[in-house]
Symmetry: C2
Subunit: 147 residues, 2 copies
């Protein structure tokens, strides 16, 4: 095979295996900075949401926090697709991509469901779904470097 067909073949394998593609030649710093913007968003909004439930912040904002968490979770799924190690991410993010991707998709789906429940039924309806939706720690334990 010539180089082009080798590339095409490896690309086809990657696509079939559901592996992330690093087709774009991005600056690694940009990729890591972008991921951090999104993960920080999730952290800030998660803390803010907890505050509304603990009576430390206006309860009326609870629903708005679940909405941001759902949208930011969708952003995160995209942000990690390009394989650029570093920035607090363990190499396993990409070495075990199918598991990581599955967890990120679940986070996006579960927070979307949480936001829908919160909008329709408020905090009382949404609260029982919080622990199963916000799986931050389980994923961080596996895929984030210890600080």
């Amino acid at each position: 095979m010539n180089r082009l067909s080798q590339f095409a073949a490896s690309l086809a394998v990657a696509v079939l295996a559901g592996l992330p593609l690093a087709a774009q030649a991005s600056d690694p710093t940009d990729v890591i900075d972008y991921r951090k913007h999104i993960m920080k968003t999730l952290g800030e909004q998660s803390a803010a949401m907890q505050a509304t439930l603990q009576g430390k912040a206006p309860a009326e904002n609870f629903v708005l926090h679940t909405q941001v968490l759902a949208v930011a979770a969708s952003q995160a799924l995209v942000a990690f697709k390009e394989k650029v190690e570093g920035g607090g991410s363990k190499p396993d993010v990409w070495a075990k991509w199918p598991d990581f991707e599955k967890r990120m998709k679940e986070l996006a789906a579960n927070t979307a469901d949480l936001a829908k429940t919160a909008k329709e039924g408020g905090a009382a309806a949404a609260q029982p779904k919080l622990a199963s939706a916000l799986t931050c720690k389980g994923c961080h334990d596996l895929y984030r470097e210890k600080k």
Copy 2:
């Protein structure tokens, strides 16, 4: 007037003047922490959105960033209502509340319009509205302490 009717009268004046009410006896640290969570969200998402426009991050996420900016702007309006000075906010936030509130309402309305335009027409349609929607600097110059 006795104390109670004095309080009721001052409350009525405050309501009529559109001044913020500090009815809840919140912990000042909680109030400031909460504001910071939301302002940091706006900062992170604004930077992430810029990255998608500069080719430094996946363009497909642009619309999602405008959505978060719109929702977080609504959160911010609520977060500043309780008068607790500090945390980088100038006292003018509450001394000139009608102007501050007007600016925050404009931010919420303009980012909501931006998100709608982005969803319907993508980045090309939304980009001309960016400068007038994201009035961060104008408000920071007036109401945020210099770092």
